[in-house]
Symmetry: C2
DNA sequence: AATTGTGTATTAAGAAGTTAGTACACTAGG
DNA sequence: CCTAGTGTACTAACTTCTTAATACACAATT
C-alpha cells in the first residue's frame, strides 16, 4: 500500500479516494479484510486518527463494515460497488462538462482529445 | 458580477477561475477594463485584499495588465487567450482520464456518457 | 491475569486561508 | 490645492480545518 499525497486535499480524503479506486478496480475481494487503523497509519506514515477518519467516512458510506473489534472489511454489497463505480464515472464526466462549458468547444473536437489521451494513457500503463 | 463561492477552495482561487471562464467564453473584450480591487471587493462582499490577491495572480499569469493607477484591463495578447483556452480544456480532459483510469470503462461507453451529458447541458442553457 | 491489538472518543496543537487595519505613492477632477 | 479613487505593500488577528496526542473499552491470545 502506497499513496502519493498531494498537498491540496486533506489526507483523509485522499485515503478514501484511494480505497474507492482500489475497490472499483477490483483490487479487493468482497468482504476482504483491510489493514487496521494503526496498521494503515504505519504503512502510510500518517497519524492513526487520520486513518480513523478515512475509515469512518468509508463506513458511513457503506464501503466497509466492522464487526466486533476486528479489522474492518470491504462491503459484500455488490450494489454499493456498482453505485460507487457509477459515482466515480458520472462525477468525472460532470466535472469535465462543467469545466469545458465556458470554453464552447465543439463536441467532436472534445471527444477527439479524449480518445487521444485515453489511448496515450493505455499505452503508458501497458 | 456574481460568484457562488464554495467553501472548499480559497476565495481568491475561485475569483481567478471565474475570470478565466469569463475571458475564455468571450464575455470580456480584449483590453476591456475590469472592476477595481475595491469595487470588486464591494460587489462580491469580500475583503479588498482577497480581490488584490486574485488580481495579482492574474497579472502574473498575463491575463490582465495594469497601467498607471487605473483599474486593470484584460490582456490584448490573443496568444495568452489561446493558451488559456488550451489549459482549461486539456486540464479538464486530463482530470477526466485520471479519474476514470481505475474504473476500466470502455472508451465507447465513456464517450457515450459524455455526449449525453453534453447535449443535456446544451439543452439546459438554451 | 496480563499483554497485545482491535475500534472509538476527546482534546490539544498546528497550518493555511481569510479578514482587518493601516499605510504609501500616484493621478484625475473639483 | 486637495479630495477621492487608483494600485500596492505589510503586519496582525481570527477562523477553519487537519493532524497529533492521549485515553478508554473490549476481545483474543499467551
Amino acid at each position: 500500500m502506497k499513496i502519493t499525497f498531494n498537498k491540496r486535499d486533506p489526507v483523509y480524503v485522499q485515503v478514501v479516494q484511494h480505497f474507492k479506486e482500489q475497490i472499483v478496480s477490483g483490487k479487493y475481494e468482497l468482504g476482504q479484510e483491510i489493514p487496521s487503523r494503526r496498521e494503515l497509519a504505519n504503512q502510510l506514515k500518517i497519524n492513526p486518527n487520520t486513518a480513523q477518519r478515512a475509515y469512518k467516512e468509508m463506513e458511513e458510506a457503506g464501503l466497509i463494515f466492522t464487526e466486533g473489534n476486528n479489522p474492518s472489511r470491504i462491503t459484500k454489497d455488490e450494489q454499493v460497488l456498482r453505485d460507487l463505480r457509477t459515482e466515480l464515472i458520472e462525477g468525472a464526466v460532470d466535472r469535465l462538462i462543467a469545466a469545458v462549458e465556458p470554453v464552447n468547444i465543439p463536441i467532436d473536437e472534445l471527444i477527439g482529445l479524449i480518445q487521444e489521451k485515453y489511448e496515450e494513457q493505455r499505452r503508458g500503463q501497458v
